[in-house]
Protein backbone atom coordinates (compact mmCIF):
# COMPACT_ATOMS: atom_id res chain seq x y z
CA UNK A 1 0.00 0.00 0.00
CA UNK A 2 2.66 2.48 1.08
CA UNK A 3 4.72 1.47 -1.94
CA UNK A 4 1.93 2.21 -4.40
CA UNK A 5 1.35 5.63 -2.84
CA UNK A 6 5.05 6.39 -3.09
CA UNK A 7 5.13 5.24 -6.70
CA UNK A 8 1.97 7.14 -7.63
CA UNK A 9 3.10 10.43 -6.15
CA UNK A 10 6.66 10.20 -7.45
CA UNK A 11 6.10 12.27 -10.63
CA UNK A 12 4.38 15.06 -8.70
CA UNK A 13 7.12 15.09 -6.07
CA UNK A 14 9.78 15.23 -8.78
CA UNK A 15 8.19 18.32 -10.38
CA UNK A 16 7.69 20.09 -7.08
CA UNK A 17 11.23 19.33 -5.92
CA UNK A 18 12.61 20.79 -9.15
CA UNK A 19 10.49 23.94 -8.74
CA UNK A 20 11.74 24.39 -5.18
CA UNK A 21 15.35 23.91 -6.29
CA UNK A 22 14.85 26.39 -9.15
CA UNK A 23 13.54 29.11 -6.84
CA UNK A 24 16.27 28.63 -4.29
CA UNK A 25 19.13 28.67 -6.77
CA UNK A 26 18.78 32.38 -7.62
CA UNK A 27 19.35 33.54 -4.06
CA UNK A 28 19.28 37.31 -4.53
CA UNK A 29 16.16 37.21 -6.68
CA UNK A 30 14.48 34.89 -4.19
CA UNK A 31 15.42 37.23 -1.35
CA UNK A 32 13.93 40.22 -3.18
CA UNK A 33 10.76 38.22 -3.84
CA UNK A 34 10.48 37.26 -0.19
CA UNK A 35 10.93 40.88 0.91
CA UNK A 36 8.36 42.14 -1.62
CA UNK A 37 5.89 39.47 -0.57
CA UNK A 38 6.36 40.44 3.08
CA UNK A 39 5.78 44.09 2.23
CA UNK A 40 2.52 43.31 0.38
CA UNK A 41 1.07 41.69 3.43
CA UNK A 42 2.44 44.30 5.80
CA UNK A 43 0.84 47.17 3.85
CA UNK A 44 -2.48 45.34 3.79
CA UNK A 45 -2.29 45.10 7.57
CA UNK A 46 -1.37 48.80 7.73
CA UNK A 47 -4.53 49.67 5.79
CA UNK A 48 -6.68 47.82 8.32
CA UNK A 49 -4.80 49.55 11.14
CA UNK A 50 -5.32 53.02 9.62
CA UNK A 51 -9.07 52.47 9.37
CA UNK A 52 -9.41 51.17 12.94
CA UNK A 53 -7.12 53.91 14.18
CA UNK A 54 -9.54 56.45 12.69
CA UNK A 55 -12.77 54.94 14.06
CA UNK A 56 -11.66 52.88 17.12
CA UNK A 57 -14.47 50.36 16.75
CA UNK A 58 -16.33 49.04 13.71
CA UNK A 59 -19.18 46.52 13.75
CA UNK A 60 -18.40 45.65 17.36
CA UNK A 61 -14.73 44.94 16.63
CA UNK A 62 -11.71 46.95 17.71
CA UNK A 63 -8.23 46.65 16.16
CA UNK A 64 -7.10 43.85 18.53
CA UNK A 65 -10.10 41.77 17.53
CA UNK A 66 -9.96 42.47 13.80
CA UNK A 67 -6.30 41.49 13.94
CA UNK A 68 -7.44 37.94 14.65
CA UNK A 69 -9.78 37.96 11.64
CA UNK A 70 -7.07 39.50 9.43
CA UNK A 71 -4.46 37.02 10.64
CA UNK A 72 -6.52 33.88 10.04
CA UNK A 73 -7.79 35.07 6.65
CA UNK A 74 -4.41 36.28 5.44
CA UNK A 75 -2.57 33.18 6.63
CA UNK A 76 -5.06 30.83 4.96
CA UNK A 77 -5.08 32.85 1.74
CA UNK A 78 -1.28 32.97 1.55
CA UNK A 79 -0.98 29.22 2.07
CA UNK A 80 -3.60 28.58 -0.63
CA UNK A 81 -1.87 31.08 -2.89
CA UNK A 82 1.47 29.34 -2.37
CA UNK A 83 0.14 25.91 -3.24
CA UNK A 84 -2.41 26.63 -5.99
CA UNK A 85 -2.07 30.36 -6.77
CA UNK A 86 -0.26 29.66 -10.04
CA UNK A 87 -3.54 28.20 -11.42
CA UNK A 88 -4.21 31.87 -12.24
CA UNK A 89 -1.74 31.43 -15.11
CA UNK A 90 -4.15 29.02 -16.79
CA UNK A 91 -5.47 31.65 -19.19
CA UNK A 92 -1.91 32.16 -20.45
CA UNK A 93 -1.49 28.40 -20.97
CA UNK A 94 -4.79 28.32 -22.88
CA UNK A 95 -3.83 31.27 -25.10
CA UNK A 96 -0.33 29.98 -25.80
CA UNK A 97 -1.53 26.43 -26.32
CA UNK A 98 0.93 25.11 -23.74
CA UNK A 99 -1.96 23.51 -21.86
CA UNK A 100 -1.93 20.75 -24.46
CA UNK A 101 1.33 19.49 -22.99
CA UNK A 102 -0.52 18.58 -19.80
CA UNK A 103 -2.93 16.45 -21.83
CA UNK A 104 -0.05 14.29 -23.06
CA UNK A 105 0.72 13.01 -19.57
CA UNK A 106 -1.25 10.12 -18.05
CA UNK A 107 -2.19 12.06 -14.92
CA UNK A 108 -5.28 14.04 -13.85
CA UNK A 109 -5.16 17.51 -15.37
CA UNK A 110 -6.11 19.52 -12.27
CA UNK A 111 -3.64 17.64 -10.09
CA UNK A 112 -0.89 18.29 -12.65
CA UNK A 113 -1.71 21.98 -12.77
CA UNK A 114 -1.72 22.27 -8.98
CA UNK A 115 1.58 20.44 -8.61
CA UNK A 116 3.22 22.23 -11.55
CA UNK A 117 4.60 24.91 -9.27
CA UNK A 118 4.85 26.05 -5.67
CA UNK A 119 5.54 29.70 -4.90
CA UNK A 120 7.85 29.63 -1.89
CA UNK A 121 8.01 33.42 -1.72
CA UNK A 122 4.44 33.41 -0.39
CA UNK A 123 5.88 32.01 2.82
CA UNK A 124 6.79 35.59 3.72
CA UNK A 125 3.13 36.60 3.42
CA UNK A 126 2.00 33.62 5.45
CA UNK A 127 4.50 34.68 8.12
CA UNK A 128 2.75 38.06 8.51
CA UNK A 129 -0.59 36.25 8.81
CA UNK A 130 0.80 33.80 11.34
CA UNK A 131 2.40 36.56 13.40
CA UNK A 132 -0.94 38.43 13.40
CA UNK A 133 -2.73 35.29 14.65
CA UNK A 134 -0.19 34.73 17.45
CA UNK A 135 -0.25 38.38 18.57
CA UNK A 136 -4.06 38.56 18.34
CA UNK A 137 -4.47 35.36 20.38
CA UNK A 138 -2.22 36.70 23.11
CA UNK A 139 -3.72 40.21 23.41
CA UNK A 140 -7.37 39.18 23.25
CA UNK A 141 -9.23 37.77 26.20
CA UNK A 142 -10.01 34.23 25.04
CA UNK A 143 -11.38 31.60 27.43
CA UNK A 144 -9.53 28.62 26.03
CA UNK A 145 -11.08 25.16 26.07
CA UNK A 146 -10.17 22.03 24.10
CA UNK A 147 -13.08 22.87 21.79
CA UNK A 148 -11.54 26.26 21.01
CA UNK A 149 -8.18 24.69 20.14
CA UNK A 150 -9.96 22.20 17.89
CA UNK A 151 -11.95 25.03 16.30
CA UNK A 152 -8.82 27.02 15.49
CA UNK A 153 -7.06 24.01 13.93
CA UNK A 154 -10.16 23.11 11.92
CA UNK A 155 -10.57 26.72 10.75
CA UNK A 156 -6.99 26.99 9.48
CA UNK A 157 -7.34 23.79 7.45
CA UNK A 158 -10.83 24.58 6.12
CA UNK A 159 -9.84 28.17 5.38
CA UNK A 160 -6.91 27.07 3.21
CA UNK A 161 -9.26 24.62 1.46
CA UNK A 162 -11.86 27.33 0.79
CA UNK A 163 -9.35 29.79 -0.69
CA UNK A 164 -7.77 27.02 -2.80
CA UNK A 165 -11.22 26.16 -4.13
CA UNK A 166 -11.65 29.78 -5.28
CA UNK A 167 -8.57 29.34 -7.48
CA UNK A 168 -10.19 26.20 -8.93
CA UNK A 169 -13.40 28.16 -9.67
CA UNK A 170 -11.30 30.79 -11.41
CA UNK A 171 -9.40 28.18 -13.43
CA UNK A 172 -12.63 26.53 -14.60
CA UNK A 173 -14.07 29.87 -15.72
CA UNK A 174 -10.92 30.76 -17.63
CA UNK A 175 -11.61 28.03 -20.17
CA UNK A 176 -14.66 30.05 -21.24
CA UNK A 177 -13.48 33.62 -20.85
CA UNK A 178 -10.08 34.12 -22.42
CA UNK A 179 -8.20 36.95 -20.71
CA UNK A 180 -10.78 36.70 -17.97
CA UNK A 181 -8.17 37.15 -15.27
CA UNK A 182 -9.74 40.34 -14.05
CA UNK A 183 -13.22 38.83 -13.93
CA UNK A 184 -12.11 36.02 -11.62
CA UNK A 185 -10.02 38.44 -9.56
CA UNK A 186 -13.32 39.79 -8.26
CA UNK A 187 -13.94 36.70 -6.15
CA UNK A 188 -10.36 35.41 -5.70
CA UNK A 189 -8.69 38.65 -4.55
CA UNK A 190 -11.99 40.41 -3.80
CA UNK A 191 -12.76 37.36 -1.66
CA UNK A 192 -9.50 37.73 0.21
CA UNK A 193 -10.34 41.38 0.87
CA UNK A 194 -13.85 40.43 2.04
CA UNK A 195 -12.50 37.70 4.31
CA UNK A 196 -10.42 40.22 6.29
CA UNK A 197 -13.41 42.52 6.92
CA UNK A 198 -15.86 42.75 9.81
CA UNK A 199 -18.82 40.99 8.21
CA UNK A 200 -21.26 42.59 10.67
CA UNK A 201 -21.19 45.80 8.61
CA UNK A 202 -22.10 44.02 5.38
CA UNK A 203 -25.43 44.69 3.69
CA UNK A 204 -27.74 41.77 2.92
CA UNK A 205 -26.60 41.29 -0.72
CA UNK A 206 -22.95 41.31 0.35
CA UNK A 207 -23.74 38.78 3.11
CA UNK A 208 -25.40 36.55 0.52
CA UNK A 209 -22.49 36.88 -1.93
CA UNK A 210 -19.43 36.79 0.34
CA UNK A 211 -21.03 35.19 3.38
CA UNK A 212 -22.48 32.15 1.67
CA UNK A 213 -22.09 31.86 -2.13
CA UNK A 214 -18.35 32.58 -1.94
CA UNK A 215 -18.06 31.43 1.70
CA UNK A 216 -15.55 34.08 2.79
CA UNK A 217 -17.12 34.84 6.19
CA UNK A 218 -16.46 31.18 7.09
CA UNK A 219 -12.71 31.47 6.61
CA UNK A 220 -12.06 33.80 9.54
CA UNK A 221 -14.89 36.05 10.69
CA UNK A 222 -17.35 33.41 11.96
CA UNK A 223 -14.76 31.28 13.80
CA UNK A 224 -13.32 34.49 15.29
CA UNK A 225 -16.76 35.27 16.74
CA UNK A 226 -16.69 31.94 18.57
CA UNK A 227 -13.11 32.41 19.80
CA UNK A 228 -13.84 35.93 21.06
CA UNK A 229 -17.20 34.91 22.52
CA UNK A 230 -19.17 37.43 20.45
CA UNK A 231 -22.69 37.08 19.07
CA UNK A 232 -22.99 37.27 15.30
CA UNK A 233 -24.93 39.83 13.24
CA UNK A 234 -28.23 38.96 11.56
CA UNK A 235 -27.92 36.18 8.95
CA UNK A 236 -24.47 35.28 10.27
CA UNK A 237 -24.95 33.77 13.78
CA UNK A 238 -21.75 32.78 15.60
CA UNK A 239 -22.54 29.03 15.67
CA UNK A 240 -21.98 28.96 11.89
CA UNK A 241 -18.28 29.14 12.81
CA UNK A 242 -18.45 25.40 13.49
CA UNK A 243 -19.58 24.80 9.90
CA UNK A 244 -16.37 25.85 8.10
CA UNK A 245 -15.75 22.27 6.86
CA UNK A 246 -19.20 22.31 5.23
CA UNK A 247 -18.31 25.59 3.53
CA UNK A 248 -15.06 24.01 2.32
CA UNK A 249 -16.98 21.06 0.87
CA UNK A 250 -19.39 23.43 -0.90
CA UNK A 251 -16.48 25.47 -2.29
CA UNK A 252 -14.65 22.42 -3.60
CA UNK A 253 -17.83 20.85 -5.05
CA UNK A 254 -18.37 24.04 -7.02
CA UNK A 255 -14.69 24.21 -7.99
CA UNK A 256 -14.56 20.65 -9.29
CA UNK A 257 -17.83 21.09 -11.20
CA UNK A 258 -16.63 24.30 -12.89
CA UNK A 259 -13.29 22.69 -13.68
CA UNK A 260 -15.05 19.69 -15.23
CA UNK A 261 -17.26 21.69 -17.56
CA UNK A 262 -14.29 23.93 -18.35
CA UNK A 263 -12.11 21.00 -19.41
CA UNK A 264 -14.94 19.58 -21.52
CA UNK A 265 -15.34 22.93 -23.23
CA UNK A 266 -11.63 23.17 -24.07
CA UNK A 267 -10.81 22.27 -27.65
CA UNK A 268 -7.08 22.75 -27.77
CA UNK A 269 -5.07 25.36 -29.57
CA UNK A 270 -4.06 23.09 -32.43
CA UNK A 271 -0.54 22.82 -33.72
Amino acid sequence: MADTVTARTAPYRAVLASRIRAQRSYRLSFGVDLAASFLVSFIELAEVWVLFHAVQSLGGFDFRQILLVFGIADFCFSMADMVVGHCDDLDRYVRDGTLDVFYLRPQPLLLQLITSNIELRRLARAAVGLASIVIALSINDIRWSPAHVGLLAMTLIAGIAIFSAMFAWAAGIQFFVISGGELTNSFVYGGRYAATQVASVWTRPVKAAFGFFFPMAFTAFLPALLLLGKPGPSLLPAWLGWCTPLAAIWAWAGGLWLWRIGVRHYQGAGG
Binding site: S29, V32, D33, A35, A36, L39, V40, I43, A46, E47, V50, L51, H53, A54, V55, Q56, S57, L58, G59, V177, I178, S179, G180, G181, E182, L183, T184, N185, S186, F187, G190, Y193, A194, Q197, V198, V201, W202, T203, V206, F210
Partner: protein
Protein backbone atom coordinates in the same frame (compact mmCIF):
# COMPACT_ATOMS: atom_id res chain seq x y z
CA UNK B 1 -1.37 72.26 -33.29
CA UNK B 2 2.27 73.29 -33.77
CA UNK B 3 4.17 70.84 -35.98
CA UNK B 4 6.58 69.87 -33.19
CA UNK B 5 3.71 68.66 -31.01
CA UNK B 6 1.78 66.76 -33.72
CA UNK B 7 3.46 63.36 -33.16
CA UNK B 8 2.47 63.38 -29.47
CA UNK B 9 -1.14 64.05 -30.44
CA UNK B 10 -1.05 61.10 -32.86
CA UNK B 11 0.49 58.81 -30.22
CA UNK B 12 -2.26 59.88 -27.82
CA UNK B 13 -4.88 58.86 -30.43
CA UNK B 14 -3.08 55.55 -31.09
CA UNK B 15 -3.23 54.80 -27.38
CA UNK B 16 -7.00 55.28 -27.49
CA UNK B 17 -7.40 52.92 -30.50
CA UNK B 18 -5.23 50.25 -28.90
CA UNK B 19 -7.31 50.31 -25.76
CA UNK B 20 -10.74 49.99 -27.43
CA UNK B 21 -9.72 46.69 -29.04
CA UNK B 22 -10.08 44.56 -25.92
CA UNK B 23 -13.71 44.86 -24.94
CA UNK B 24 -14.25 41.63 -23.01
CA UNK B 25 -11.22 42.30 -20.84
CA UNK B 26 -12.75 45.69 -20.11
CA UNK B 27 -16.02 44.07 -19.01
CA UNK B 28 -14.11 41.73 -16.69
CA UNK B 29 -12.28 44.74 -15.33
CA UNK B 30 -15.56 46.49 -14.66
CA UNK B 31 -16.97 43.51 -12.75
CA UNK B 32 -13.85 43.29 -10.57
CA UNK B 33 -13.89 47.05 -10.10
CA UNK B 34 -17.52 47.05 -8.98
CA UNK B 35 -17.01 44.14 -6.57
CA UNK B 36 -14.07 45.86 -4.89
CA UNK B 37 -16.06 49.10 -4.88
CA UNK B 38 -18.99 47.46 -3.08
CA UNK B 39 -16.72 45.89 -0.45
CA UNK B 40 -14.87 49.17 -0.02
CA UNK B 41 -18.07 51.16 0.35
CA UNK B 42 -19.70 48.86 2.94
CA UNK B 43 -16.68 49.09 5.21
CA UNK B 44 -15.95 52.79 4.71
CA UNK B 45 -19.59 53.91 4.95
CA UNK B 46 -19.91 51.85 8.15
CA UNK B 47 -16.84 53.67 9.40
CA UNK B 48 -18.43 57.06 8.67
CA UNK B 49 -21.60 56.00 10.50
CA UNK B 50 -19.54 54.69 13.42
CA UNK B 51 -17.97 58.16 13.56
CA UNK B 52 -21.43 59.69 13.96
CA UNK B 53 -21.91 60.68 10.32
CA UNK B 54 -18.64 62.57 10.03
CA UNK B 55 -15.24 60.96 9.80
CA UNK B 56 -12.34 63.39 9.33
CA UNK B 57 -14.61 65.62 7.26
CA UNK B 58 -16.18 62.81 5.24
CA UNK B 59 -19.98 62.48 5.29
CA UNK B 60 -21.72 59.39 3.89
CA UNK B 61 -22.20 61.06 0.48
CA UNK B 62 -18.64 62.32 0.06
CA UNK B 63 -17.21 58.98 1.24
CA UNK B 64 -19.30 57.22 -1.42
CA UNK B 65 -17.92 59.69 -3.98
CA UNK B 66 -14.40 58.86 -2.80
CA UNK B 67 -15.06 55.11 -3.19
CA UNK B 68 -16.62 55.19 -6.65
CA UNK B 69 -14.38 57.87 -8.10
CA UNK B 70 -11.28 56.05 -6.89
CA UNK B 71 -12.58 52.76 -8.33
CA UNK B 72 -13.35 54.52 -11.60
CA UNK B 73 -9.89 56.03 -11.79
CA UNK B 74 -8.16 52.75 -11.09
CA UNK B 75 -8.23 51.64 -14.71
CA UNK B 76 -6.56 54.88 -15.80
CA UNK B 77 -3.75 55.04 -13.28
CA UNK B 78 -0.69 52.89 -13.16
CA UNK B 79 -0.28 51.83 -9.55
CA UNK B 80 1.49 48.57 -10.42
CA UNK B 81 4.79 50.05 -11.62
CA UNK B 82 4.79 47.72 -14.63
CA UNK B 83 5.19 49.10 -18.16
CA UNK B 84 6.20 47.84 -21.59
CA UNK B 85 9.09 50.28 -21.57
CA UNK B 86 10.84 48.40 -18.74
CA UNK B 87 10.80 45.24 -20.86
CA UNK B 88 12.02 47.17 -23.91
CA UNK B 89 14.96 48.55 -21.94
CA UNK B 90 15.74 45.09 -20.57
CA UNK B 91 15.68 43.49 -24.03
CA UNK B 92 17.45 46.42 -25.69
CA UNK B 93 14.53 47.09 -28.04
CA UNK B 94 14.49 50.63 -26.69
CA UNK B 95 17.29 51.57 -29.14
CA UNK B 96 14.69 51.75 -31.92
CA UNK B 97 12.68 54.14 -29.76
CA UNK B 98 15.76 56.33 -29.40
CA UNK B 99 16.14 56.47 -33.19
CA UNK B 100 12.79 58.26 -33.54
CA UNK B 101 12.95 62.03 -33.80
CA UNK B 102 10.76 62.57 -30.73
CA UNK B 103 11.43 62.54 -27.02
CA UNK B 104 11.32 59.00 -25.61
CA UNK B 105 10.01 60.30 -22.32
CA UNK B 106 7.11 62.41 -23.58
CA UNK B 107 6.30 60.01 -26.43
CA UNK B 108 5.88 57.18 -23.93
CA UNK B 109 3.92 59.28 -21.45
CA UNK B 110 1.63 60.65 -24.21
CA UNK B 111 0.74 57.13 -25.43
CA UNK B 112 0.06 55.93 -21.91
CA UNK B 113 -2.05 58.95 -21.01
CA UNK B 114 -4.04 58.40 -24.23
CA UNK B 115 -4.83 54.83 -23.18
CA UNK B 116 -5.64 56.02 -19.69
CA UNK B 117 -8.06 58.73 -20.79
CA UNK B 118 -9.79 56.20 -23.00
CA UNK B 119 -10.12 53.76 -20.09
CA UNK B 120 -12.15 56.44 -18.28
CA UNK B 121 -15.08 55.74 -20.62
CA UNK B 122 -15.61 52.01 -20.04
CA UNK B 123 -14.35 52.00 -16.44
CA UNK B 124 -14.65 55.43 -14.90
CA UNK B 125 -18.07 56.41 -16.19
CA UNK B 126 -19.90 53.12 -15.30
CA UNK B 127 -18.26 53.12 -11.89
CA UNK B 128 -19.44 56.69 -11.26
CA UNK B 129 -22.94 55.80 -12.51
CA UNK B 130 -23.18 52.78 -10.19
CA UNK B 131 -22.09 54.93 -7.28
CA UNK B 132 -24.53 57.68 -8.21
CA UNK B 133 -27.56 55.49 -8.91
CA UNK B 134 -27.22 52.77 -6.26
CA UNK B 135 -25.02 54.01 -3.46
CA UNK B 136 -26.06 57.65 -3.25
CA UNK B 137 -22.78 59.43 -3.81
CA UNK B 138 -22.95 63.21 -3.86
CA UNK B 139 -21.87 65.14 -6.96
CA UNK B 140 -21.20 68.86 -7.17
CA UNK B 141 -24.04 70.96 -8.57
CA UNK B 142 -21.97 73.91 -9.74
CA UNK B 143 -19.80 73.76 -12.87
CA UNK B 144 -16.56 74.92 -11.19
CA UNK B 145 -15.74 71.68 -9.29
CA UNK B 146 -16.39 69.71 -12.47
CA UNK B 147 -13.96 71.87 -14.46
CA UNK B 148 -11.30 71.90 -11.75
CA UNK B 149 -11.90 68.18 -11.17
CA UNK B 150 -11.32 67.41 -14.84
CA UNK B 151 -8.08 69.41 -14.89
CA UNK B 152 -6.92 67.74 -11.67
CA UNK B 153 -7.87 64.32 -13.04
CA UNK B 154 -5.81 64.79 -16.20
CA UNK B 155 -2.89 66.04 -14.12
CA UNK B 156 -3.23 63.05 -11.78
CA UNK B 157 -3.17 60.58 -14.67
CA UNK B 158 -0.13 62.32 -16.18
CA UNK B 159 1.76 62.34 -12.85
CA UNK B 160 1.01 58.63 -12.51
CA UNK B 161 2.44 57.66 -15.91
CA UNK B 162 5.34 60.10 -15.66
CA UNK B 163 6.26 58.49 -12.32
CA UNK B 164 6.04 54.97 -13.68
CA UNK B 165 8.37 56.13 -16.45
CA UNK B 166 10.95 56.76 -13.72
CA UNK B 167 10.54 53.21 -12.43
CA UNK B 168 11.08 51.84 -15.93
CA UNK B 169 14.17 54.06 -16.34
CA UNK B 170 15.80 52.26 -13.41
CA UNK B 171 16.15 49.31 -15.80
CA UNK B 172 19.05 51.11 -17.57
CA UNK B 173 21.11 50.42 -14.46
CA UNK B 174 19.40 47.46 -12.80
CA UNK B 175 18.13 45.55 -15.90
CA UNK B 176 15.73 43.40 -13.79
CA UNK B 177 13.43 45.68 -11.82
CA UNK B 178 10.69 43.31 -10.61
CA UNK B 179 11.50 43.94 -6.95
CA UNK B 180 11.35 47.69 -7.51
CA UNK B 181 8.00 47.34 -9.29
CA UNK B 182 6.44 45.38 -6.43
CA UNK B 183 7.78 47.96 -3.98
CA UNK B 184 6.28 50.73 -6.12
CA UNK B 185 2.96 48.90 -6.32
CA UNK B 186 2.59 48.65 -2.56
CA UNK B 187 3.76 52.13 -1.67
CA UNK B 188 1.90 53.91 -4.49
CA UNK B 189 -1.47 52.30 -3.72
CA UNK B 190 -1.18 52.98 -0.02
CA UNK B 191 -0.01 56.59 -0.31
CA UNK B 192 -2.29 57.43 -3.26
CA UNK B 193 -5.25 56.67 -1.00
CA UNK B 194 -6.44 53.61 -2.89
CA UNK B 195 -8.09 51.59 -0.09
CA UNK B 196 -8.34 54.19 2.67
CA UNK B 197 -8.38 57.98 2.05
CA UNK B 198 -5.12 59.49 3.25
CA UNK B 199 -6.99 62.07 5.32
CA UNK B 200 -7.81 59.20 7.72
CA UNK B 201 -4.09 58.60 8.27
CA UNK B 202 -2.53 59.58 11.58
CA UNK B 203 -0.73 62.92 11.28
CA UNK B 204 2.84 61.59 10.87
CA UNK B 205 1.74 59.16 8.15
CA UNK B 206 -0.20 61.90 6.37
CA UNK B 207 2.92 64.07 6.31
CA UNK B 208 4.93 61.16 4.95
CA UNK B 209 2.36 60.48 2.22
CA UNK B 210 2.15 64.16 1.27
CA UNK B 211 5.89 64.29 0.66
CA UNK B 212 5.52 61.80 -2.23
CA UNK B 213 3.88 62.30 -5.65
CA UNK B 214 1.35 59.51 -4.97
CA UNK B 215 -1.55 61.52 -3.47
CA UNK B 216 -1.41 63.71 -6.62
CA UNK B 217 -2.50 60.70 -8.66
CA UNK B 218 -5.71 59.70 -6.89
CA UNK B 219 -6.46 61.51 -3.65
CA UNK B 220 -6.03 65.09 -4.90
CA UNK B 221 -8.29 64.78 -7.98
CA UNK B 222 -11.02 63.29 -5.76
CA UNK B 223 -10.53 66.02 -3.15
CA UNK B 224 -10.74 68.70 -5.84
CA UNK B 225 -13.91 67.16 -7.28
CA UNK B 226 -15.62 66.85 -3.90
CA UNK B 227 -14.58 70.36 -2.90
CA UNK B 228 -12.31 69.26 -0.03
CA UNK B 229 -9.44 71.05 -1.75
CA UNK B 230 -9.06 73.51 -4.58
CA UNK B 231 -6.47 75.33 -6.63
CA UNK B 232 -3.82 74.64 -3.97
CA UNK B 233 -3.97 70.90 -4.65
CA UNK B 234 -3.81 71.51 -8.41
CA UNK B 235 -0.70 73.64 -7.86
CA UNK B 236 0.82 70.77 -5.88
CA UNK B 237 0.07 68.41 -8.76
CA UNK B 238 1.72 70.77 -11.26
CA UNK B 239 4.75 70.96 -8.97
CA UNK B 240 5.04 67.17 -8.73
CA UNK B 241 4.61 66.81 -12.49
CA UNK B 242 7.43 69.31 -13.08
CA UNK B 243 9.68 67.49 -10.61
CA UNK B 244 8.92 64.00 -11.88
CA UNK B 245 9.27 65.22 -15.48
CA UNK B 246 12.65 66.79 -14.82
CA UNK B 247 14.00 63.70 -13.07
CA UNK B 248 12.71 61.61 -15.96
CA UNK B 249 14.53 63.85 -18.43
CA UNK B 250 17.81 63.54 -16.53
CA UNK B 251 17.44 59.77 -16.18
CA UNK B 252 16.67 59.36 -19.88
CA UNK B 253 19.82 61.22 -20.91
CA UNK B 254 22.00 59.40 -18.40
CA UNK B 255 20.43 56.04 -19.22
CA UNK B 256 20.90 56.54 -22.94
CA UNK B 257 24.65 56.80 -22.41
CA UNK B 258 24.56 53.86 -20.04
CA UNK B 259 22.48 51.60 -22.31
CA UNK B 260 24.35 48.59 -23.54
CA UNK B 261 22.73 46.32 -26.08
CA UNK B 262 24.15 42.85 -26.27
CA UNK B 263 24.40 40.82 -29.41
CA UNK B 264 24.48 42.02 -33.00
Amino acid sequence: MPVALAPYGRLFAAGIRQQTTYRLAMLGGLVANTTFGLLKSVILLAAVRAGGGNLHGYAVGTMATYVWLSQGLLGSLNLTGRTDLADRIKSGAVVTDFLRPISLQWGTVATDVGKAVCALLPRGVPSMLIGYLFVGMTIPHRPLPWVLGAVSLLLGITVSWASVYLVASAAYWLVEIRGLQVFYMMVSGFFAGLLVPISLFPHWLLVLASSTPFPSMLQYPIDVFTGRGGVGLIAAQVGWLALVGTVGHVLTNAGRRRLEVQGG
